[in-house]
């Protein structure tokens, strides 16, 4: 029981340990260090890429390119299926005039 009480006391003391806490003071000459950092800061390739891609104009253009690309792919697919049907017809000589057609011109 005594041990449990002791633990409770320590827990409460820890929870209240921030009471009356003073704010910490940052290192001096912060502004000078900020300027120095701004001047020497190297922008990485990834940062450049993210900055470029996150611009609204670029994002919209990219979306349009993707949509146009998809439209071309879809239209190509439908054209290919039409061509496939035609070539199937060719294979079975649905449309090609044969020698018999030219010989039997008279009804």
């Amino acid at each position: 029981m005594q041990k449990k009480d002791l633990i409770q006391q320590r827990v409460e003391a820890a929870l209240n340990s921030m009471d009356g806490m003073q704010p910490a003071t940052p290192e001096p000459y912060l502004l000078t260090r900020i300027h120095a950092r701004m001047n020497t800061r190297e922008v990485t390739v990834w940062e450049k890429a993210v900055w470029f891609l996150s611009r609204p104009v670029v994002a919209i253009v990219l979306c349009l390119v993707i949509v146009a690309n998809m439209m071309v792919v879809v239209s190509n697919q439908s054209r290919q299926s039409n061509v496939a049907a035609t070539s199937q017809g060719d294979d079975f000589s649905y449309t090609v005039a044969t020698i018999y057609d030219s010989e039997n011109v008279q009804p």
Partner: protein, 194 residues
């Protein structure tokens, strides 16, 4: 946002150097202490403080003035502090994997108890345990606790910074306190047993 703040924002957006100095002077302590509360390391907090003002300077044109300058800076600070924590955790995991495979990477420095310079001398030991326990809380509970307890922000202000309701902040604080009690009890129990 009051008139003085609005004027400061306009001056900042015009690239006024004196206005930027004013901004840094007015908010450096706030930014530094918030970062320190989260990352619990003075060098990292200093680094974050610099990064926060650089980002603020670079994104001034995006600042519409819908919130107070302090709220805006708090949000940038918390974002940067949590990012750094995640980066450190990833590095730690990577170090562990490296150690498993026996490669000689950077030596990992053991976690040191954080000694906040503003804590009263008689509370130092207890505060160190509390800071250790805080690290184990979920991010939103930790943020609410840090802003309210360390920064002295009201529940209303915490709600504004966290972009949530006062009720949600109250709930976060209550859960945070319960979790801290559990963590600290376990810690002191093991300490007494050893």
């Amino acid at each position: 946002m009051n008139n003085a703040e609005q004027e400061l924002v306009i001056q900042l957006q015009q690239g006024n150097e004196a206005a930027f100095r004013k901004l840094v002077d007015a908010y450096e302590k706030m930014v530094y202490n918030t970062a320190l509360g989260i990352v619990q390391n003075e060098d990292d907090a200093d680094d974050i403080t610099q990064e926060v003002f650089i980002q603020a300077y670079q994104s001034l044109t995006d600042f519409k003035g819908a919130s107070k300058i302090s709220t805006w800076l708090y949000r940038i600070t918390l974002g940067k502090a949590l990012d750094l924590e995640k980066k450190k955790k990833r590095k730690k995991r990577f170090g562990f994997v490296q150690a498993l495979f026996g490669s000689s990477g950077e030596e990992t420095v053991p976690a040191v108890e954080f000694d906040h310079p503003g804590v009263q001398l008689e509370n130092k030991e207890n505060a160190a345990s509390l800071f250790k326990a805080l690290k184990q809380l979920p991010d939103n509970q930790r943020i609410a606790f840090t802003l309210h307890k360390m920064e002295g922000r009201s529940y209303n202000e915490v709600a504004e910074i966290m972009d949530t309701t006062v009720t949600a902040v109250e709930s976060l604080m209550a859960r945070g306190r319960t979790n801290l009690k559990k963590i600290l009890s376990t810690y002191y129990e093991s300490k007494f047993n050893n």
